[in-house]
């Protein structure tokens, strides 16, 4: 009796494998297409401000006068760039120590119920949508600041406070992961030398995990820098460099949010907004680069 060749079965496997591979390659190729087209489209729109010759790069980046509708329109975006950096740095300054305390609480002080208590808190905080943070900022933080401190309540301080709560979960979870993955014997040898818990934390644990904690802070700052709506709602949106923390200011994102719908595509004003989007995108690259740099240091 002739044995049937097994060819058919092998072919079925091959076809299956082939289809699977093709499909996966398509998915991966799509990711590449998305990022390439994103960079291309935003960049080509963003540099049209400078190509058309009305505004030079240095005028845009360092000019302090923003009057797109004036008789001689000027597009100095420095107040917004400064505003973005200011709220981002302030938010990181407020959130980092708090996050570090939360992470230490979860991993070093009461690892058992501390984690059970804080883990869901962190998850819920990161799940609250940004418009809700903006709404709470508008209805709680702004009136509070208005009643207790000089100024209108809206402004840089309100923006930084709202952002700091938003980036708390990011920094906390990265820091807690880093602290939890620290080799146990480092701590034990420190305790064996007679060090107190705080001495161990401040001289051994934090220095060892410093790059990882910084990674968390940079990730948090990246989120704060790109956050649009929550900041827009509480910062006041005045096109000036703020002279105090309780004055209105603008960020790149808030100006884009407000301006994009009210300008016509292709006008100089609209193009300037795209240039700001380009700045935002370039800053994202900087943040990703920083994170990678820190992660490399963390491995050694």
């Amino acid at each position: 009796m002739r044995v049937k060749p097994k060819k058919a079965r092998i072919e079925k496997h091959h076809i299956e494998d082939f289809i699977g591979r093709t499909y996966m390659s398509f998915c991966v190729a799509l990711l590449i297409v998305i990022i390439v087209s994103m960079v291309y489209f935003v960049a080509s729109k963003g540099i049209s401000t400078f190509i058309s010759g009305d505004v030079t790069v240095s005028d845009f980046l360092f000019g302090t006068k923003w009057s797109p509708d004036g008789d001689t329109p000027s597009f100095g975006a420095f107040p917004f760039i400064a505003g973005s950096f200011l709220v981002t740095l302030l938010a990181a300054l407020i959130a980092s120590p708090l996050s570090l305390c939360a992470a230490l609480f979860m991993t070093e002080i009461v690892p058992g119920w501390g984690k059970k208590l804080l883990q869901p808190v962190i998850e819920l905080l990161s799940g609250i949508p940004s418009v809700v943070y903006g709404f709470i900022g508008l209805s709680v933080i702004v009136p509070f600041l208005r009643n207790t401190l000089p100024g209108q309540g809206i402004g840089v301080a309100a923006g930084a406070l709202v952002l700091s709560v938003m980036i708390l979960p990011t920094i906390t979870s990265v820091a807690a992961d880093a602290l939890a993955s620290l080799p146990q014997n480092l701590k034990e040898s420190s305790f064996a030398l007679g060090a107190t818990r705080w001495q161990t934390i401040s001289r051994v644990i934090i220095p060892t995990t410093f790059p990882a904690i910084m990674t968390g802070i940079v990730l948090g700052m990246a989120r704060a820098f790109g956050e649009a709506l929550a900041v827009q709602m509480v910062i006041g949106n005045a096109p000036f460099i703020p002279r105090s923390l309780f004055e209105s200011a603008s960020t790149l994102t808030s100006v884009i949010t407000l301006g994009m719908g009210n300008t016509t595509m292709g006008s100089a004003h609209n193009n300037a907004l795209w240039s700001m989007a380009l700045v935002l995108m370039l800053m994202t690259f900087v943040f990703v680069f920083l994170v990678r740099l820190l992660e490399r240091r963390n491995k050694i």
């Binding site: 002080i109 799940g127 609250i128 994102t253």
Partner: protein, 298 residues
Amino acid sequence: MKPRTVDKIATSLIVFFALFIVAILVGLLGYILFRGLSHVSWDFLTSAPQKIRAGGGVGPQLFNSIFLLVLTLIITVPLGLGAGIFMAEYARPGKLTGFIRLIVEVLSSFPSIVVGLFGLLLIVNYFNLGFSLISGALALTVFNLPLMVRITEQAFRSVPNQQKEAGFALGLSKWKIVTSVLLPVALPTIITGTILSAGRVFGEAAALMFTAGMSSPRLDFTNWNPLSPSSPLNPFRPAETLAVHIWKINSEGLAPDAAQIAAGASAVLVLTVLIFNLAARYFGRLIYRKLTASKSMD
């Protein structure tokens, strides 16, 4: 000061700040729910918003949010699965894999407003889809896809290697192992992650302002023809979502009870995200038990 005293002070400070964060969350949730829920009623959830008069609801917005979420997941889940499986099982360490990893990282850290602007330029204007649900869903795809890839990759990586080796020992093809051995084991993690990412998509607003639009046409909920402009199922109509609505009434709301509507809508939004969170845990456990015949997760 004695080291012991310093230690005590530092410890109490850390405990204080950690509990302070818990207090922030309790305060936030308490405020949102306490202020908002008194305004939430069946009528509020189903009726259309009023422009100038008081008493409007968020019915169409709520429906739009859910519909948009479904559309987004229909697009992103298969794509994210494909790319994630590739990254976990097929990609060999090298330049290309490193590059794809970088892409996923960059995509997931792009500010959502930049994603929205990209959608405005390419999807709304260039592909001429206009302000529509489908534009919004495509923009959210850009936003959600890197998340899905990460979730899938992590889920597949956490499957014990023996499972794969057993499959190879049986002479199965690699694709067969991926789909019938690894996928079922990875599925609970993937589903949990997907529902959690759905929570993020549900609350997303900045990327949608410029793609799904900031208005909602009059919807006729008895019209189920997906091509009619007033049908809620028409994917080519503009659709304001709940999150965008909250932003809009806070910045330019004219209704006299705008603050209450914002509070009510925020409560609905937060509650929905909370439900997503709980559902993610529940389904993860349930499916894990069904598929693996074991009693508990981890």
